[in-house]
């Protein structure tokens, strides 16, 4: 076998390992899906009244927001998983094996990406039950979900780097969460940005979470009424801006992570 085929098959072994973990410890998957479903229900029924005047109701704008928020948390999940492997010395063992230097991190990000598919399906069903009805074509809806998966995948690479440099699973999970949680709220995900103080409005306009939310709203067939204040480039062209962010993130963090992995020493 060529080295490229080896790289791919090595990465798939690592991905398979992660899926096996989900079978052995189903609690992880259950918690991973319960949390977003809970958010769907809470926001739908606590803030549902905010949507007066929105065609189809608040839930139409809410669902893309929660989808994006959930995939954003992939960053913390990946970081925690890798830091755990560092702590346990598994990365040392992997590094002592004759496998490609990118296999472990490729496998991990792919595994977290696959987990997102399951989570998005569960959330989509929950959303449908509480009244979410995308109005665009199937092709557009599929494109929306692919964009979400791609966003999660890009963030997963930031998580790889964070996990490899931190070496402490609990710390890195908390730090990543502290970083991503406000990011998901300083956006157009749950409320209009127009009510925010001006400086925050600008931040929210350019926040990748906002561009992603606006992009998925568009792809699911809804006009994004939460935050078109400045007529800024990101709010006018959310899909292009989102793709740009993802490409930049991956261009930075993929090589950085692989490099870091090569010299990662857990002790």
């Amino acid at each position: 076998m060529s080295s490229v085929t080896h790289s791919v098959s090595d990465a798939l072994v690592i991905t398979k390992r992660q899926l096996q973990q989900l079978v052995r410890v189903p609690e992880v998957l259950i918690f991973n899906t319960i949390q977003p479903v809970m958010f769907v229900l809470l926001f739908r029924y606590v803030f549902g009244g905010l949507g007066a005047g929105i065609p189809g109701g608040y839930v139409q704008l809410l669902m893309p927001g929660i989808f994006v928020q959930t995939v954003t948390f992939t960053l913390a999940a990946t970081a925690q998983g890798l830091a755990q492997d560092m702590e346990k010395g598994l990365i040392d063992r992997f590094r002592s094996l004759p496998i490609s230097r990118s296999a472990v991190v490729m496998g991990r990000t792919l595994g977290d990406g696959l987990l997102n598919i399951v989570v998005l399906v569960v959330m989509g069903v929950a959303g449908y039950i509480v009244g979410w009805r995308p109005t665009s074509s199937l092709l557009h809806i599929a494109a929306g979900f692919i964009l979400l998966l791609f966003f999660g995948y890009a963030l997963s690479w930031c998580g790889v780097f964070a996990g490899l440099i931190s070496k402490d699973a609990r710390v890195v999970a908390n730090v990543s969460f502290l970083f991503t949680f406000p990011l998901t709220f300083l956006s157009n995900a749950f409320a209009s940005t127009t009510t925010m103080p001006k400086p925050l409005q600008y931040f929210a306009e350019w926040n990748p979470v906002s561009t992603m939310v606006a992009a998925t709203r568009q792809l699911f067939g809804f006009h994004n009424t939460f935050g078109v204040t400045a007529h800024s480039y990101p709010s006018e062209h959310p899909i292009v801006t989102s793709l740009f962010y993802m490409v930049v993130l991956m261009a930075i963090f993929m090589p950085l992570s692989v490099r870091r992995y090569k010299s990662a020493n857990s002790r």
Binding site: D92, S96, P98
Partner: protein
């Protein structure tokens, strides 16, 4: 260095020359011109206290860490220039069982087999063999987190043997195990050694190096301070010692007997009522002493013929016992925390 043995013409499976590795911008020297070698088919015990540089040595030789300077080969392959080729022929089992704890023993072995590029079928066959060899078949389908410390180590060792490595590195294979786990591990390692594997083993247990290794290097503060066979190192320190504990009232009489038979002076620990003296004739001296004491109606409370331990060796070379290095543990900075989780 006490005894640098030169093997003329013998094949060296591992050679390290003048390895230097510093941490924190040179403030902590983990390896300070360390040199060692392992002859093919033999076991080298690298003995030293925590922070002596044992783990760093293993990490350099197993390609996990690049040395600042110096040169090392494993199986004739340079570890810095061609690390991938080195990884093809080595097995590494670390201080802390490096396994996926949520998966079962079986899952782990099959996964590592696949990562060694065995086919699915080959990986399963090999996993089955190894589980049998290490008496883990019954627990094969339980998650590792339910394993005892000894079982984890055995499985970890099994994982390092998947492709029958030419050179095996075991970094403190029994640290943290209870006596039973340690004995089991020793048996496993001894059977591997009989099978002819080339092994570099680090340990802070003097007895362990004595039991398992053909040759021993003693390292302290990143340097080799002694090298030789276990017997050679012991000869440096002296022969056997006779130790007898008697009732307080019998100490003087017993001491006279012992000194006469040993043909030299003895030392007495009044608190422990223990008399000890170096003897040349070993068990013969012991029998003679027992006969004479019996004739004098002195009943020893305890009686032993002690071979010098490697602890004594360490003491005689460094002038201090094999204790933790005073410098922070650059070798294993997060050791305390890890230990705490066990």
């Amino acid at each position: 260095m006490l005894a640098l043995l030169v093997y003329d013409g013998a094949m060296k499976s591992v050679v390290a020359e003048n390895l230097v590795k510093t941490y924190r911008n040179g403030q902590v020297k983990a390896l300070d011109n360390l040199s060692l070698d392992v002859e093919e088919g033999t076991v080298l015990g690298v003995l030293g206290p925590n922070g002596a540089g044992k783990t760093t040595t293993v990490r350099v030789l197993s390609t996990l860490l690049k040395p600042d300077s110096g040169h090392a080969t494993v199986g004739g392959i340079d570890v810095v220039k061609d690390p991938k080729a080195v990884r093809e022929i080595i097995g590494l089992s670390g201080q802390y069982a490096a396994l996926d704890e949520t998966l079962t023993g079986w899952d782990n072995l099959v996964m590592f087999g696949r990562l060694y590029h065995l086919s699915g079928e080959q990986a399963r066959v090999r996993a089955k063999e190894l589980l049998e060899q290490f008496s883990l078949t019954d627990s094969a389908h339980r998650p590792i987190k339910t394993f005892s410390g000894g079982m984890r180590r055995r499985l970890d060792l099994a994982a390092s043997l998947i492709v029958r490595p030419k050179v095996l590195f075991l970094d403190e294979p029994t640290t943290g195990l209870d006596p039973r786990g340690r004995m089991e591990m020793w048996e496993v390692i001894q059977s591997l050694v009989k099978g002819g594997v080339t092994l570099l083993l680090t340990t802070q247990y003097l007895e362990e190096a004595d039991q398992l290794a053909d040759d021993i290097v003693v390292i302290d503060r990143g340097q080799v301070i002694a090298r030789g066979s276990s017997d050679q190192l012991k000869a440096e320190v002296g022969g056997e010692r006779l130790e007898i504990v008697v009732e307080e009232s019998d100490i003087n009489a017993a001491r006279a007997v012992i000194e006469r038979i040993a043909g030299g002076s003895s030392t007495v620990d009044q608190g422990l009522r223990k008399i000890s003296a170096p003897v040349r004739a070993g068990t013969d001296s012991l029998i003679e002493v027992v006969r004479e004491l019996d004739a004098l109606k002195i009943h020893p409370l305890d009686l032993a013929l002690k071979r010098p331990s490697l602890d004594d060796v360490f003491m005689s070379i460094t002038g201090h016992a094999a204790e933790e290095a005073v410098v922070s543990n650059a070798d294993q900075p997060s050791k305390k925390k890890k230990g705490g989780r066990k």
